[in-house]
Amino acid sequence: MRKLYQFHGGIHPPSNKSQSTRTAIAQAPLPAKLTIPFHQHAGETAKPVVKIGDHVLKGQMIGLPDGFVSSAVHASASGTIAAIDMQLIAHPSGLPNLCATLIPDGKDEWIELNPVADYRSYSPIEFQQALRMAGVVGLGGAAFPSDVKLAIHKQKIKTLILNGAECEPYITCDDMLMRERAEGIVRGAEMLRFMLDANEVLYGIEDNKPEAISALQQAITASGGVIQPNKRHEVVSIPTIYPGGSAKQLIRVLTGLEVPSGKLPTDISVQCFNVATAYTVHRAIDFGEPLLSRIVTITGNVGHAKNYDVLIGTPINELVALSDALPDTDRYIMGGPMMGIPLPAVQVPVVKATNCVIAASKKLFPPPQPVLPCIRCTRCAEVCPADLQPQDLYWFAQSREFGRAQAFSLFDCIECGACSYVCPSHIPLVQYYRFAKSEIRAREHDKQLSDQARERHEYHELRIEREKQEKADKLKAKEKAAQAAKLSSPPPLTPEQQAEQQKLEASRAHILEVVQSTIEQTDEGAVK
């Protein structure tokens, strides 16, 4: 038995997971229209590489990664690009973003796939490029491009952690994936381990998923040959506590190490991937398939809560219709009840980060209770998994003292919502932290812009000054030359030149004479 560690705080909300694990993963039907956003990952938006009216094949790239932290976007089905425009997406702002509208032709014609026969012959760089072009991003929720997580520099990775904790209530997509597709996860995990050159792989799974744990254990025992000899894959059952699936907290539980403030797990020789990401890596390398679909849990106020294998871009309203959303459903949440975001409209598409859609009703999620003043009971501090002082952070955020909030490690907050969950005054604490964080980020951005403007202005002034100086110098040089020319006496003339000059003077005198006489004549004439 492995020694496990604990992180600070944590809560035990009702899990509500059993509703959606009763039936196997179902294939969601091909919708009549797919809306594929170009920004589905953390980082830069992918650049569209198709035009309106183009016919695309399933798996064809439609968005090229643009920038270091970026990932490709693909057509989830064969069909015609009907539009490339701004559409509503699942984002807390409720603002539209660039999307491609794809009308499937129903043939599901694949583009030619290039599976990798032996990934071990790939260099880490080639492997990262393959993942980047296959649009593989973290499927745990943050959608961070996986190739960037593999691009470690000098750090030596000892432990690779596969995150199957799935700590948030209602969500069961990873659970079902582990139960049904464990071999693929193990294969993908071994590829990631190989590329990171880690010694061991630990699968952290909460103990409320015994089926997933045994499925993965079986897959590891039966894997023969997949896993490099003398490297270890181990499934670790961890206690169920929210937010045990947050990367830093999971690392703490499994290894006892704490990721220092402002550092990354790689700085303490650990890297963490979601189990669904490992499965996608396996599909991308062994089959050459880009990330076109994912498992989505449809649960909450629905007739049949279930997990579906869904094409990216499927409108969420078609999914909830499959699960028979009950009539008193008043809104939908993407993600879990703790960290999820309310959807601006139910027509928005499924994206790579969509792990769960919860139909919410007043009965299931009663409206928030009236907010009362903070009584500084510090219950929030007791449950904070990042070991922060949420009551102080709240105080600084609500009075806009951002500098002090930052000094109290605001950016170590993982926005898990445990503090708001226990707050007896029902203060929406996480909203305050998100507000403060985004204000600080905006200020830092403005500061960067103003520093840039200062530099450009100073250079502008310098240039004007230099041009003035150059002009003055030129003028001076010219004047000097003129003066020098005046001072020096003209050179003596040759005999020919002298003769020429005399001739010229003679003719000039003659002209003068002629003119004079003409004037006299006309004068006389005028007198007469």
């Binding site: 920004h39 973003n97 009236p370 909203q431 985004s438 905006a442 103003s450 403007a453 200062r454 202005h457």
Partner: protein, 184 residues
């Protein structure tokens, strides 16, 4: 006594050379707070001259509309004075960038000369354009344009510059909250 005076004098003389600072550090500190739009709305030809004027006490701290109320607050904190509100016609405006209507532009280069941050590209008799990422929104290019082809476009909110809002919820009286709590 004389020896001490000589030694101390030498120390002071050395310190004056060793810890010599170029320019006025206060001016740099004030300049760091100013938004660097270089717009001249304060009545000085740029942010640095305004910073110099503030440091000598010639100019009040409420003459910088692009800095907004927050800029005044920062200056007040830095200088240890009370913040004062904007007066009269100096009012902050929403952030914007200049846009050249490229079909009207005649390529006179007057705006290029007016731009304090060299954010306009173009040549004589060639169409000009603005590098939006470098534009500070100072509006100095608008007046010199002989064909009025430059307009200011407010920066709209999009996914990248969107910010979480200050949490807003209805205020409830303590009695109402108490009855709500009791009824549960």
């Amino acid at each position: 006594m004389a020896a001490i005076a000589i030694v101390l004098g030498a120390v002071l003389g050395y310190a004056a050379i060793k810890f010599h600072t170029e320019g006025n550090p206060m001016v740099d500190k004030i300049d760091a707070v100013l938004p660097q739009t270089q717009c001249g709305q304060c009545g000085f030809p740029g942010c640095k001259p305004y910073a110099t004027a503030i440091s000598t006490g010639e100019a009040p701290i409420n003459k910088c509309p692009p800095g907004g109320e927050e800029g005044i607050q920062k200056l007040a904190d830095l200088l240890g004075v009370d913040p004062i509100p904007f007066g009269g016609d100096t009012q902050p405006k929403p952030k914007s960038v200049a846009l050249i209507d490229e079909s009207t532009c005649i390529g006179c280069t007057l705006c290029i000369q007016a731009c304090p941050v060299d954010a306009i590209v173009g040549a004589a008799k060639q169409m000009h354009t603005i590098i939006a990422a470098e534009c500070t929104g100072c509006e100095l290019c608008i007046a010199p344009c002989p064909v009025d082809c430059i307009s200011m476009q407010a920066i709209e909110e999009n996914i990248t510059n969107w910010k979480w809002k200050y949490p807003a919820y209805a205020l409830t009286s303590v009695e109402a909250a108490a009855t709500a709590g009791a009824s549960r």
